[in-house]
Amino acid sequence: MSTATVEEPTEVVAAPEPFWTRQRRLGLALILLGGLAAAVFGALAPSEDARFTLSENAEGAALSINGQYGAVLFGVLALVAGGALFAGLLKRWSNALLSAGILAFVLSFLCWQVAGEFMPLVDTTDGTLQLALPLILGALAGVLGERSGVVNVAIEGQFLMGAFAGALVGTMATSVWVGLVSAAVGGMIIAGILAVLSIRYLVDQTVVGMVLNLFALGITGFLYERLMQPDAPTYNTPPQMPEWRIPGLADIPVVGPVLFEANLLVWVALGLVVVIHFGLSRTRWGLRTRAVGEHPTAADTVGIRVRGLRYMNVLLGGVVAGIGGAYFTLVATGSFTKNMTAGAGFIALAALIFGRYTPFGAFGAALFFGFAQKLATYLGAIDSPVPSQFLNMLPYLATLIAVAGLVGRVRAPAADGLPYIKG
C-alpha cells in the first residue's frame, strides 16, 4: 500500500462576490450625484423656461422646460438610475442605466444653467463634434500604438507637427488636399522618431514621447517665427477644407446639419472609429496587434514579427494623429500659431485611457470631452457663475478617477510600454 494516494474531495466553490462590486460603486456615485443635482441645481435654478432650440439660434421650434422643475426632475431620474444600479436591478442593462443616469445628471445641470436663456442644439452638437474631432483622431492614434505595446504620449507633438506641416505645405501648394497629406506625413515623422527610438534603441517610451512633445513644440515654434510670422501670405494662409452637403440627409433636424453638411475630417474620424474597431476585433492584423500588445514573446513564438508590426502601427498612428493635427489649421482656424494645440494631445490621451483603449470607448470619451469644452464656451457666453476652467478640467479629472479605479479599473494592454528584446 505504499503507493496509495488519498484523494481529497475537492469542491468547486464560487468565490463569494464582494459587496462593493463595480455596479454598486457606480450606483452609489450616481445616487450622490443625482441627489446633489436635485437639491443644489434645483434650488439654484430660477423658475424660468429653459429653451433648447432645434436651430443654430433662438428661432424656430424648441424643446422647453421650466428650469427649476427640470433640474429637480432630471436629478431625481439620475438618482433613480443610480438606485437601480445599486440594488442590482436590471443587471443586463447596467451600462444603459449608467449612461441614462449620467445623461440625466447633465440634463439637470443644463436645466439649471439654461433657465431663462436658450441653448441652440444644432450649434451645440456641431461644436461638440468639431471639438471632439482632433480628440477622436488623436485617441485612435493612441489605440493603434498602445494596443501593440507602444505607449504614445507624443500625440500632442504629432498634432503640432501635423498642424504645422498642413499649414506650411498647404499654403505653398495652395491645395488643402496636399496640406492634408503633408499633415499626415508630419505626424508620421514624429511617430517615426518615437518608433525608432523606442523599438530599435529601446529608450523608455514615455520619456521619448515627452521629449518629442517638447521637440515638436520647439521646432514648429522656431520655424513659425522664422518663416511664417515674417511672411504669412507665402507660408501661413492655408486653404480651408470645404464643407460638403449631402442632399436629403442634410435636412434631418439636428443630426442632418451636423453629420451630413460637414468637412471630410468628420467622416474620416467616424469612419476610422468603425474601421479600427473592426480591424482590431475581426481581422488577422487586429489579432496580431493585440497579441503583440499583450504577450509579445508568445506572438514571436508563433512567427509574428513583433517589431515590424509595432513599427507599422506606430507609423499608422502618426498618420491618424497628423490628420487630427490638420484639423487645427485646415478646419478650425485659417493659420498656424505657436503651440496652437494647447494640450489637446493630452486630452486625446485622456480620452484614450478613459475609453479603455478601445476605439468606440475612445470615441465616446472624446465626444464627452468635446461636449465639456463646448459647454465651457457656451456658459462663458451666457455669463454663467460656473467657471469655464472647471469644465475644461473635466477630462483630466474624469480620467484621474477612471485610472484610480474609483469607478471600474482601466487596464492597459499587458505589454504596453515594454520594449521587446528578442531573446
Binding site: 505607449v151 504620449v153 522618431i193 527610438l197 534603441y201 529601446l202 529608450v203 523608455d204 517610451q205 514615455t206 520619456v207 521619448v208 515627452m210 521629449v211 518629442l212 517638447l214 521637440f215 513644440l217 520647439g218 521646432i219 515654434g221 522656431f222 520655424l223 513659425y224 517665427e225 522664422r226 518663416l227 511672411d231 505657436k338 494640450g343 493630452f346 486630452i347 490621451l349 485622456a350 485611457i353 467657471p387 476652467q389 472647471f390 475644461n392 478640467m393 483630466y396 479629472l397 480620467t399 484621474l400 485610472v403 484610480a404 479605479g405 474609483l406 479599473r409 492597459a412 494592454p413 499587458a414 505589454a415 504596453d416 510600454g417 515594454l418 520594449p419
Partner: protein, 399 residues
C-alpha cells in the same frame, strides 16, 4: 596617453554628453540655415558659386551661436569696456546673472524628476507641482505680511507644501490603486494650470484695479533677495545648491534614500526585503512634489513677484529634460540646469540680436536629451567603442 585618448573616444558618459551636444548644435545650425530665406536663395545657385552659399550660411550660424554664448556667459566687448571704465561690472556680469536666474527653478524641478526616477517613478507632474508651489508661495507672499526673513521662509515653506500636496496625490493613488503615475501626473498638470488661471482672476487674489489676469504683488519681505538693477540673480540659486546637497545626502546617505533606490531597482525584491513599497511611493512623490513646489516658489518669489496664468512657464517640463541630461543624479542635475539656464539666457540674446527665435533653444534642449537617452544612436553615428553601460538605467513599467 593613447590609452587615455582611446578611453576618451569610447562611449563613456562625458563623451556621450559632449557628442550629443555637438549633434544637437549641428542640427540647430541646419535649422537656422534652412529657415533663412536669403541664405536659401544663395543655395539656389550653389553649383555656380558654392562659396556664396557657404559663406552666408557660416555667417548666419556663427553670429547666432556667438550671441548664444555671449548671452549666456558674457560679452568680451562689455568686459573690456568695464576694464576701460566705460561700463559697470554689473553690465559685464548681467549675462551670467541671467543664466543663474533661469537655472534656479530648473534645479528644483530637475531634482524632483530625478529623485522620483531613482525610485522608479516618472514624475511628469513636476509642472503641476511647480504651479501649485507658485500658487501657495504667491498667496503666502502677499497675504501674511510677516516681518523680514520670516515672511520669506513662510512663503517658501508654503510653496513646498503646495507642491508636496500635488505630488502626494499620484503617489497615494499609485500606492493604493496602482494607477500609473505617468497618467495621473499628466492629468494633474493640466488641472493645476486651469486652476491657476481661474484663481488669478478671483477677488482677493487679483491685483486691485487690474482687469487682466495678474495677482497682487508679493510683499518685498517675502521676495528672494537680489542685487537688483540689471542683475536679476537672486538667493534662489544658492538655495538650489544647498537643496542639491540635501537631496544628494537623502539619496545616497539616508535610510529612506536606500529604500527608494531599492524600490526603484526592483519593487518586488524590495517588498520581499521588508520595505514598504507603497509607503515609499507616497513619501517619494510628496518629496518630489515639494521640490518642484520649491521651484515654483523661487519663480514667484525670485523673478515674477506676482501670479499670472503662465507664471510657472515651462519649468516643470524643463525639469524633465534637466533630470534626464543630469542622468538622475543630484549634482548632474544641477549642472544640467546650469547648462539649460545658459542656453535659455543665450537664447534671449540670440532672439534680440540675431533675430533667431528663442524656440531654437527648446529644439536644442530636446535634441540633446534625445541623443543622451539613446546612447546606442550616438555610438552608431560616431562609431564609438563600447564602454561600460551608460544611459538611463531604470526602464519604467508600462504606462
Amino acid at each position: 596617453m593613447t590609452a587615455f585618448l582611446r578611453k576618451l573616444w569610447s562611449a563613456n558618459t562625458v563623451a556621450l554628453t559632449f557628442l550629443s551636444m555637438v549633434l544637437a548644435v549641428l542640427i540647430g545650425a541646419l535649422l537656422i540655415i534652412v529657415s533663412d530665406a536669403d541664405v536659401l536663395a544663395k543655395f539656389g545657385y550653389f553649383t555656380a558659386r558654392p562659396s556664396d552659399a557657404i559663406e552666408s550660411s557660416w555667417a548666419v550660424v556663427s553670429t547666432a551661436y556667438a550671441d548664444l554664448l555671449k548671452g549666456a556667459f558674457g560679452d568680451p566687448q562689455v568686459f573690456s569696456a568695464w576694464f576701460a571704465g566705460t561700463a559697470t561690472w554689473q553690465q559685464a556680469f548681467a549675462p551670467l546673472s541671467e543664466t543663474l536666474t533661469y537655472a534656479a527653478p530648473m534645479v528644483f524641478t530637475g531634482l524632483s524628476v530625478a529623485l522620483a526616477f531613482r525610485g522608479g517613478l516618472f514624475n511628469i507632474g513636476a509642472q503641476g507641482q511647480a504651479v501649485l508651489g507658485c500658487v501657495a508661495a504667491g498667496i503666502a507672499g502677499f497675504t501674511f505680511g510677516l516681518p523680514v526673513v520670516l515672511n520669506l521662509l513662510v512663503a517658501l515653506i508654503a510653496g513646498v507644501v503646495g507642491g508636496a500636496l500635488w505630488g502626494f496625490i499620484p503617489g497615494f493613488l499609485k500606492a493604493r490603486t496602482g494607477a500609473h503615475e505617468v497618467i495621473t501626473t499628466i492629468m494633474l498638470n493640466y488641472s493645476a494650470g486651469l486652476f491657476l488661471s481661474w484663481l488669478v482672476i478671483q477677488q482677493g487674489i487679483q491685483a486691485p484695479g487690474r482687469t487682466d489676469a495678474i495677482s497682487k504683488t508679493v510683499a518685498e519681505t517675502a521676495q528672494l533677495p537680489s542685487p537688483g538693477g540689471v542683475l536679476r540673480v537672486h538667493l534662489g540659486i544658492i538655495l538650489a545648491v544647498l537643496v542639491t546637497a540635501g537631496v544628494s545626502w537623502l539619496l545616497n546617505r539616508s535610510a529612506f534614500g536606500f529604500e527608494l533606490r531599492a524600490v526603484g531597482a526592483n519593487p518586488h525584491a524590495a517588498k520581499t526585503a521588508g520595505i514598504g513599497v507603497g509607503r515609499t511611493y507616497v513619501l517619494l512623490m510628496a518629496i518630489a512634489g515639494g521640490l518642484a513646489g520649491l521651484g515654483g516658489a523661487t519663480q514667484v518669489l525670485g523673478t515674477a513677484h506676482a501670479l499670472t496664468p503662465a507664471v510657472a512657464g515651462n519649468i516643470g517640463f524643463d525639469g524633465l529634460l534637466v533630470a534626464l541630461l543630469g542622468r538622475n543624479r543630484p549634482w548632474g542635475t544641477l549642472f544640467a540646469a546650469l547648462l539649460f539656464g545658459a542656453l535659455r539666457a543665450g537664447g534671449d540674446r540670440m532672439q534680440s540680436f540675431a533675430s533667431i527665435s528663442l524656440e531654437l533653444v527648446t529644439v536644442l534642449q530636446a535634441l540633446i536629451v534625445i541623443f543622451i537617452a539613446a546612447p546606442a544612436l550616438v555610438k552608431a553615428i560616431f562609431r564609438l567603442r563600447a564602454a561600460r553601460a551608460t544611459g538611463l538605467g531604470a526602464s519604467l513599467a508600462k504606462g
